[in-house]
Structures are given as C-alpha cells and as structure tokens.
C-alpha cells in the first residue's frame, strides 16, 4: 500500500514539477532517512536533544540548499531558521523540563503493555527532541515561502526600497501565517479525532490535563509559535540581503 502511494506521489511530482519534482521526491526521502537516523541514534543511546539540534540544521540545509540552490533567498532563510531554532530550543527545553509531558498515557497502555518500561533512556529529553524536530518542518516551510515570494516581488519590480520590501514580506507573511496555522490545526485535529471519541465522558478539567492531549497541544502550539516568529525575522533579513546584493552588483 505504501509502495503504491509512493509511486503515485512520484508520478504526480514528475508531472507537476518535472525536474524539480524529482528533486522534491529525493528531498522527501532524505528527510525520511534523517528522521530514521534520528530514531537510530536515539535507540543507540545518543542524547535526544543534541541529536535533534543536529537533525534540524541538517534538515534545513537539505531543504534549502539542495532543493532551492545556494542563493540570496536560501541564505537569508537559513540565517533566520537558525535564530528561530535557538529561541524555540529555549522555550521547548523549559517546557519539557517542568511540565511532565514525557512518555505515554493510559490509553496507549494496550499498545505498550507488552514492553518493559525500564529502558534506561530519559523520555523527557526525547519529548523535547521530538517537539524540536516537529517544529523545524513548519519553520523551514514558512521561511522559504516568504523569501521566495519576496524574491519574486523584487524581480518583478526592482525599484522597491528595503522598507517596502519588508512590508510586502510581512503582507505575504500574514497570508501564509493564517493558513499555516490552519494546516497545523487540521493535522492536529486529524490525529486527535480518535482521542476525542475516547474521552467523551470525561470532565473538561480531566481532559485538559491529560498527558497525550497536552503533548499534542504543546506540539501544535510550538509549531505555530515557531512559524509566527520566523515571519518578521525572514522578512527583515531577506529584504536587507536582497538590497545588499543589488548594491554589490551595481558596484557601490
């Protein structure tokens, strides 16, 4: 089933994107391998947070430079992503450390019951790493969308000042923002449909403190917060960089 679906995906990508479609497909698999590698090293006993940071940097390098080439927009995006990664790391680390969202909750007892729980691996670090890796996908997406749109606007009208470019970037960013959050929300509700059916008879106070829901909410909100703070940062850095490149080309 997975094979059929991936073949359909490949064919569609080739039809829609041609050469870029193939690149996207390769990138998709590289990212898949990256997540697989993350699990592999974590199972071997590597520190989940350090591994997550490495994976995040590698993922942005793959998605930006391999997919979109080495140019002004990808460089600007990369710098912005690194800044946001640092901010998100601080937020997620504090959250993970104090809110006890590691591990599993009662509803998955049937799935995990067969296993021994003394696995000698700190699940708190794992959940911090997982949320961090989860966040990076949206952050990369929002960042590249804004810098690409800014680049297109700039190419179509080179007279715009850096300030006007920033405003255009924020304008595009706001459009992207609302839908990105919608995307995330639908992924969240899609995944949680089962949860809501399971807990229909429980009180609101019980559900709101329930571990697996809190995990999902933390993932959702961290992704959203990451994709919001990336907007002004990318718009600012890209608009500055586009102007800088132009000045260099003109020889001042």
């Amino acid at each position: 089933m997975i094979t059929i679906l991936s073949v359909i995906l490949l064919v569609l990508l080739l039809l829609v994107g041609k050469k870029d479609g193939l690149k996207t497909y390769i990138c998709f698999y590289l990212n898949y391998i990256l997540i697989y590698a993350y699990i592999f090293f974590v199972v071997l006993g590597a520190n989940a947070i350090v591994m997550a940071l490495i994976i995040c940097i590698l993922a942005s390098v793959i998605t930006l430079f391999l997919m979109n080439g080495n140019n002004v927009k990808t460089k600007s995006s990369f710098i912005s992503i690194c800044i946001v990664l640092l901010i998100m790391f601080i937020i997620i680390f504090l959250l993970g450390k104090y809110s006890n969202i590691q591990g599993f909750s009662y509803e998955s007892l049937e799935s995990i019951g067969a296993y021994s729980f003394s696995i000698n691996y700190n699940m708190t670090y794992l959940i911090i790493g997982v949320v961090l890796v989860c966040t990076i996908g949206t952050v990369i997406d929002t960042s590249i969308s804004i810098s690409t749109a800014l680049n297109e606007i700039y190419l179509n009208n080179k007279k715009l000042s850096s300030r006007e470019l920033f405003d255009s970037g924020m304008n595009v960013g706001r459009d992207i923002l609302s839908t990105t959050i919608n995307t995330l929300f639908f992924v969240f509700i899609g995944g949680m449909v089962g949860f809501f059916f399971w807990h229909t008879s429980d009180s609101f106070g019980y559900i709101i403190n329930y571990k697996s829901l809190v995990q999902e909410i933390v993932e959702l909100l961290c992704c959203s917060i990451g994709s919001i703070i990336i907007i002004p940062i990318t718009a600012y850095i890209t608009s500055k960089n586009l102007k800088k490149v132009k000045r260099k080309k003109n020889g001042y």
Partner: protein, 354 residues
C-alpha cells in the same frame, strides 16, 4: 496613531499577565484535590526512584494543610511521573491520607503557551492574526460540536459523509474569515474544494483496492466507534485539508500581489512566476507533513526498539499508519498546485480582458 498602538499593547500585556496569574491560581475550579509539592527526598535503587513527597493541599475543605505521600518513578519515565519541587498533582484522599496520585496538573503550561501564541499572533499578524484566531476557534467549536452530535446520535448520518460535508464548510469558513469576501478568496475556495475531492478519491481508491491489513495501534481502545476505517479516512481527509487551503491561498495571493505590483504582466509571465512559487512550496509543504505527522511515532518506536524489537520492524509496525497519512496528504498537496495555479490565472486574467 502611535498613541493608539501603545495603548493596545498595554492592554494586551495586562490581559496576558492576568490570564497567566489566573493559570497559576485556578485551583478552585477543580473538584479533585490538588497537592503542590514543597519538598522531595529521593532514593535511587537502580533505575527506580522512590520519592518521599511533602506537599500543601491547594483546594477543597483541607486547603492549606500538609500532606505527605510516596511516589515511585524511574529514570526513563515511560509511564510514570518524576515529580519535582512546585509540581502540582491530582490526588485521591481518604481519611486525611493521600492514597493515589491520579495525574499531574499541566494546565498552566498550556495557558502560558496559549498566551504566548495569541500575543505573537496579534503582534505579528495584526488584523489578519486576529481573524485567523477567530477562524481557529470556530473550527475547533465546529469539530467538537459535530463529534458531540454524532456520539449522541442527534444527526443520523455516517461519520465519513458528515466529515466530508464538514470539510467543505471548514474550507469556506476559514478562508472567508481570514481573507474576506473577495476574488482572491473565491479563487482559493474553488481550487481547494476541487483539490480535496480529487485527492480524497485517489487515496480512497488506492486504500480500498489494496486489501492490506492496517494495524490501527493508535485507535485500538475506542469503543464508541467500531469502524476504525471510517475514522482513519477522516484522519486522512482532515490532515490534508489545511495544507490544500494553504497552497490555494498562497498561490492566489502571491499571483495577486504580483499583478498589483506590476500591472501589465502577461499570462505567460504569470505562469512562470506561479511555477517559481509552486516549485519552492512543493518541496517544503511535503516536508511539513512529514515532520508534523511522522515524528509523533518516535517515542513508541524508541520504546519498542529499546525492548529489543529490530528497528526496521518497529518503524514498519508503528509508522505505517502515519506514513500513509503523510503520503496521502503529500499527494493532495501535489495535485492542488496545478489546480490552484490554473484556476487563479483563469479567473484573474478573465477579469482583466473585460
């Protein structure tokens, strides 16, 4: 102008601080007894930690009294809670003694994150941010309402048709609230609905034709719905929905922005620009699906692998469901790009010629 902005920001700050203070002091809302940990002494025995805990009761009749109890936890923390100072736990009491810890109170962290999220949304997104917040709340209420109506058998249609109708409503409502009633939005709504229909049909046909058994490990305890497959299709349908809307509105709004900035652009140049935009979002959108859906299996896979299940087995067993979700969503993303591009150009340029 400057004054009004400052005034708004001060109000936002005050409201945020008040909400967070409320989050820290909302013990009175709970019926279950809450104990706040004041001191802990831990004893390590191999991987197991025995915690001797003293705490203060925060609500109910015995508010302010001291309580002490034991908590067994482990270094790994797979299924237990390692408490620390200032943790708050729900407990069961009998005869002034704490008998059982029923859960950890986590709502203040959610409230802090939520406040941070809303503030940033308002500061960065301004008017559009408020609108998307509004559409988010409506979407959440709608889905909860539908699930409630379904469970109480108030509406008598099947789960899948219900959610298919609901998804069309989701698309129209979210886009209309966020972007207003204008050409850009109408273009996006039309292309989203066309894309959702086509992509869902493809996924449905593939999944129905291959009679492979899916292991529904994430849904195995749900008693109310006997039909896991229906639930799974809803899962697929909803997961791709947001991304499809995202692409439709991105393409239609970017094309409009380009037309606004340079008026006399030809159809050919528009297609070229549209291609450039879609080329870049194509790859990253698929990666969003991969990262947001697929990483949630990691704790399960790590637990299984650390219990000596081969890694590749663990990934196929527990990752299958999420991988199907990622792939079907990706297919819908790819399909929605040409649909959105051509519908946008067709409608924008037809208006131009008049």
């Amino acid at each position: 102008m400057l004054k009004s902005i400052k005034f708004k920001h001060i109000i936002l700050l005050i409201v945020s601080v008040l909400v967070i203070i409320f989050g820290y002091n909302n013990y009175f809302l709970y019926d279950t007894t809450i104990v706040k940990v004041t001191s802990i002494s831990s004893k390590y025995v191999d991987e197991v930690i025995n915690q001797n805990i003293t705490g203060k009761i925060m609500n109910g009749d015995k508010k302010g009294e001291e309580a002490s109890f034991n908590n067994t936890t482990s270094i790994s923390g797979v299924f237990d809670e390692q408490l620390h100072e200032k943790s708050e736990v729900f407990v069961k009491m009998s005869n002034n003694e704490v008998t059982e810890i029923t859960g950890v109170k986590r709502d203040k962290y959610e409230i802090i994150l939520l406040v941070l999220f809303v503030d940033l949304l308002i500061l960065v997104g301004e008017k559009k941010g408020v609108k998307s917040l509004f559409s988010l709340i409506i979407n959440i209420c709608l889905s909860v309402l539908c699930i409630y109506l379904y469970i109480n058998k108030i509406i008598g249609i099947d789960l899948l048709p219900l959610f298919i109708i609901l998804s069309a409503i989701f698309i129209s409502l979210s886009l209309l609230i966020c972007h207003g009633f204008n050409k850009k939005t109408m273009v996006a709504i039309i292309s989203s609905i066309v894309s959702v229909i086509i992509s869902f049909l493809i996924s449905y046909i593939v999944l129905e034709c291959s009679k492979e058994q899916i292991y529904f490990w994430t849904m195995n305890d749900i008693e109310i719905v006997s039909d896991y497959e229906g639930l799974f299709y809803i899962n697929i349908l909803l997961s791709g929905l947001g991304a499809i809307m995202d692409i439709a509105i991105t393409i239609s709004s970017s094309l409009q922005e380009i037309i606004l900035k340079s008026n006399n652009i030809s159809v050919k140049e528009l297609i070229k620009s549209g291609r450039a935009i879609s080329k870049d979002i194509l790859g990253t959108m698929i990666n969003v699906m991969l990262y947001t859906c697929y990483v949630s299996i990691i704790p399960m896979v790590v637990l299984a692998s650390r219990n000596y299940m081969p890694l590749s087995n663990a990934v196929t067993t527990y990752g299958q469901l999420e991988l199907i979700r990622v792939l079907t969503s990706s297919i819908s993303i790819v399909i929605s790009i040409p649909i959105a591009l051509y519908i946008s150009i067709f409608i924008y340029k037809r208006g131009d010629n008049k």
